[in-house]
Symmetry: C2
Subunit: 147 residues, 2 copies
């Protein structure tokens, strides 16, 4: 049986930046919601695309949100999870910073036009993994290398 190990900020940032798919968690008046989505990290912010009327478009702007990425290995019986916390904001293409504009966008699996961006400039970034003696980054199924 393994122990839970806290990841350092740098480990969290590296794992979050290397990923491409995660989950936005927000609160609606009726309760919590989770939105699986492709994303990209630019500086200290998570960026995702959304479209008018979508949950993120309607409820994320100005709200306390959580963005989570994780990876598990059933064969090894271990995994990791990183969580970014902060306030989300809806931004238009013209409100993106130069760095945010230069980052190759999230993978597009679904076409949605028109679209806007949800930006989460995280306040805290924490993570944990199960067990020592293995490298979360080395076991990622995909890895963004642009920084």
């Amino acid at each position: 049986m393994s122990e839970i190990v806290e990841l350092t900020y740098d480990e969290c940032e590296e794992l979050l930046s290397a990923g491409a798919f995660g989950r936005f968690v927000l609160t609606r008046p009726t309760g919590p919601e989770i939105v699986p989505v492709n994303y990209v990290v630019a500086g200290e912010a998570v960026l995702v695309r959304t479209a008018p009327g979508a949950l993120l478009d309607r409820y994320a702007d100005g709200s306390s949100v959580v963005f989570e990425v994780d990876q598990v290995s059933y064969e090894q019986g271990h995994g990791w999870s990183v969580v970014a916390r902060g306030r989300a904001e809806r931004v238009t293409e013209s409100q993106l910073t130069d760095e945010e504009r230069r980052v190759p966008g999230p993978p597009r699996w679904v076409s949605r036009e028109p679209e806007s961006w949800i930006r989460l400039r995280w306040i805290t970034l924490t993570g944990r993994r199960v067990g020592n003696g293995w490298s979360p980054l080395a076991e990622m199924p995909v890895r963004r290398v642009w920084r």
Copy 2:
């Protein structure tokens, strides 16, 4: 580019029942939280273990919660997600139903004693996938076969 396709209830139940790792989403006074966790399905309920003082132990009982499982394939550029919604309840071993007691429990990656159970008898179960022409169940990395 693909379209988003709604999954049927039966497809959602099959995918949720076959999985082993998912994410509990709940609301704390300070905002939303996400808890990655191993789980099992018994009847129309999600069951996870928790320990005194853990987030699930403190905030899930009696709350509107969401439980999510998903799987993505970066090579294929597609994925699926299933979400169970309802009110969570903390139950002791003796409060489990006969069926819930018979189900082999969630994988144990971390030792936590003592522990209690969080049960989510879902009210709604919905899901979606990106694109047609592929089988979410066939692409699962692990699959529980006990029913």
